[in-house]
Structure formats: C-alpha cells, structure tokens
Symmetry: C2
Subunit: 263 residues, 2 copies
C-alpha cells in the first residue's frame, strides 16, 4: 500500500493515538474493515446502489477506499452474513432485495404442517391515516401527535384465511400509500415499500403470545370467538436500526405452525 488513507483511521499506523483515546473526544478506533463496512452501508442507505443492483467489485472498492482487497472482502463477508448484500460467484455482489423467494421466508415463518408453503393471497380490509397511538409512537420513535398509516389485511393460503394483520407505518415515510396501490401491487408488501417508498426492512424483532380470538378476528378468520390464536407483535428496522414498522398479526395455527430455528 502506498500512503495511509486520510479519511480512515488505521490503528496499525496510528498506534499511539489508538492507545490514548482522549476522554470526552469521541475518537474511538475500530478495525479498518468495520469502517469500510460502515461506509458501504452508508452508500446502501443513501441509495447509491439500489436493491437488486450490482455494487462495485472488491478490487474497485479496495481502490476507492485505499485498502487491500482482503479488507474489503472481510467487510462484505459480514454484510453478506447480515443479508444486506448477496454474493454470486463470477457475477459480483448485489444489493439484497425483498423481490426474491429467499427473503420471503425470512419474514414470514408460518408454514403448513404438511406440504409445501404456498404464496399468500392478500385482502386489504382498511387503510387510513391517523395519529399514532402512544404505544406505536414509542415503538416507532415518533412524537405524540405524528401521523401514521394504518393498514388492516387478511392473508389466505389456498383460499383459507389464516392471518389477520394490523400495521402502523410512519406517515412521513409512506406518503401516498393508498388502498389502491396496495391492492394493485403484486408481490410481497416489503417489496412495495422498498421499490415505491425507498424503505428497506433489514431486520425485525417479534414477541409471540397465545391469545383468544375476539369477535372481529374470529369473523375474519371464519372461526369461533375464543379460538386460540398466535399473536405476533413485530417491530421492523431499516438501515441504522431505525424502527419503521409496527405490526400485529393473529395467526390461526390449526393446520399451520410458526417455524423457528435455534442455533
């Protein structure tokens, strides 16, 4: 390597500084490949490379950031492990997208007890704009009176209604989201969010409980009130761990189950 890259701080070449982190100053050092990872993530967030597109090759990125190819490789390895990008030998590295079968199963864990999973059919029940309820505002990091878009829908498999979903999305990020666009759109909802609104869901946390179906849910699912349902409360995050969706699903688990892997 020729010269130390000015915009990056390499502990290997600045040992004295890294050993003396000034209290109060935020000058903390992280490995080079972590810094590269942050830079690449920022480019992804800024939309420099869009979902589905090819990002520059390892050699190009190494030249851009003035580090070795091996360092770029380690950064991309981690981004790939986090499902932010997908590597394809011989072709290159692509920005991950929800427009793939791959991504579907990551975010919908309900599987039929027997047989192959079938694609879900969506029925939109309601879309409206309202002020965020306190609990939703807290989870989405919004202020009290901020607007959110509320969506209610039913998902069916093989014609059988199985899931009742309620979603809350920050109004500021999803301006122009209407029933019409939701109904027209074919494919996964996260695909729509990503393509039409530039918001890509990266990861989510779920809290799962067993509850009794109330009258409304029972009617939509075609079961008796009081039937046990799986309640799945989800908060989804985009780049920078920013929460951008609150969702509550009620799953009918008579012939389906929530599949989970403990590693």
């Amino acid at each position: 390597m020729s010269a130390a890259p000015s915009h990056l701080t390499n502990p290997s070449t600045a040992a004295s500084v890294s050993k003396l982190p000034v209290a109060g100053s935020a000058a903390t050092f992280s490995p080079l490949y972590q810094q590269i990872k942050v830079l690449i993530t920022q480019s992804l967030q800024a939309g420099e490379w869009k979902p589905g597109e090819l990002i520059p090759s390892e050699v190009e990125l190494a030249a851009r950031y003035k580090v070795s190819q091996g360092t770029v490789r380690k950064a991309i390895d981690e981004l790939s492990a986090e499902n932010l990008v997908v590597r394809r030998q011989g072709k290159g590295t692509f920005v991950a997208t929800h427009h793939e079968a791959r991504a579907q199963f990551r975010f919908l864990r309900l599987m039929p007890d027997a047989g192959e999973p079938h694609p879900a059919e969506n029925r939109i029940i309601e879309v409206k704009r309202l002020r965020a309820p306190v609990e939703v505002a807290r989870l989405l990091d919004l202020r009290g009176g901020d607007a959110v878009i509320f969506i209610k829908r039913v998902q069916s498999f093989d014609g059988e209604p199985i899931i009742v979903d309620e979603l809350w999305l920050p109004g500021a990020l999803f301006k122009g989201l209407t029933t019409e666009r939701l109904v027209e759109y074919k494919g996964p909802m996260y695909g729509l969010f990503e393509t039409e609104f530039g918001t890509r869901m990266i990861r989510a946390t779920e809290r799962i409980r067993a509850v009794s179906a109330d009258d409304a849910a029972a009617a939509l699912l075609g079961v008796a009130s009081g039937t046990p349902l799986l309640s799945v409360e989800r908060v989804s995050y985009t780049y920078g761990d920013k929460p951008v969706e609150v969702r509550r699903g009620l799953y009918l688990t008579g012939r389906h189950h929530y599949q989970n892997e403990l590693g």
Copy 2:
C-alpha cells in the same frame, strides 16, 4: 508449505481430479477449510476436547493438519459462528458449553414482558421409562419398540408456574437418568446432559402454535381450563445432526412472551 498433506485433498493441487468427479464414486471435493472444519468437529464429537476446555491453538492445528494458519482460522471462524466453540482473545478457543448464561438464552426464548429474566426453578413431576410412541420414534430416528425416557416438569419464574414441559430422550443415550439426579442437579438441564451423559445439544427446531389448556396443564399452571397457551414442539440435535431430544412445552404467556429475532 512443504508437501501436500496426504490425508486431505486440496483442489488447488489436484485440479484434474476435482474437475473429473467420477460418477458413482463419492469423491467430491470441498475447500480445505471445510475439510479442517469436519476434522475439528469429529474431534469435538469424539470428546478429544470436552465442553469448557481449551482446544489447541491455531498454530498447533495448522501444524497438525499441515495447512496454513489462515485456513485453520477460517474453519474455526465458522465453528464459532455456529456456536460450537468460543474464541477469547489472548486466551484461546474453548469448546462451547451449556454451563454459561450465554447458552441459556439461546434455548429458552421466553422473556418477561417487563424486567430482567430470572433464573427458572424446576419441579420434576414425573420420570419414567417407556416404549417410544410412534411420533417420537419417528422424530428421534428410533425403531418402533425402542425405549425412551419420559420427563414431565414445571418451570416457575418468581414462584409463578409458567411452563409445563414434556421430554422424550433416547433410552440408550441416557441410561441411569433418574428423578433423583434431575432433582439434585443445579443448573440447566442441557448442562446435566452434556456433563453426565456426554450428549451436547447443538441446535434445535421449534414449531409453535396456540392451543387451549387442557385440565391437566391448567391445574399445573394454576389457570382455568381453556386458557390460551403457547405450544412449543422442539427437536434438538447433537453433532452430525443426530436428533436426541423431543420436547413439548406449554407456555403461559400472560406476562411473558416468546422473543424472536428475524435477521
């Protein structure tokens, strides 16, 4: 490197062979670091290094297998990602064990809605030996009449009974498992299995449903019959993806929830 290692097949030095996999012969080539990974896993399985113990350093393993340190490193990186070993800078690499707070949360995802998770208190209800029911036999890869050990217990948090568990274990692997030993043993049950019976749980799959409490479960949990409960059916696997435990838990999710991360 001096000479080609005789026990390993390196495609880099045997390209012609790797390009001509003979149909019928099982001679398939995998990267060197994958082969190293298999060898290390076999040593773990054979008990050459026991849970909690230090495994040889990267330099030593590189010498043993006649490959570079970088290749060993990549193998261990993956074993570490799969939670088979734990790296500690400056100290070495250790065989993962269930006798750590770390491992607990991987296999018990039920968390209190508010406050910190508390350690579970176990109450053993029943331990007996019986012939494997067909469904259990199928899941455990046993033959029809094989013996299994059946355990029923209740787990409480802060004195409140929250979980009713039923477990089935292959009799051949857990000879001598009695109520007494289960009651005497302090700490996680997987720790007992690992230390006393040499069977370490590596990963598990779970199928989750919402069900109604029957009379027996309701009595044990101190709730009304018909209360919605989370049903968690688990199959646990040890080295070589061998199933070694079937478990069915009923979770009371009034003030607790099953926590899951979607990556």
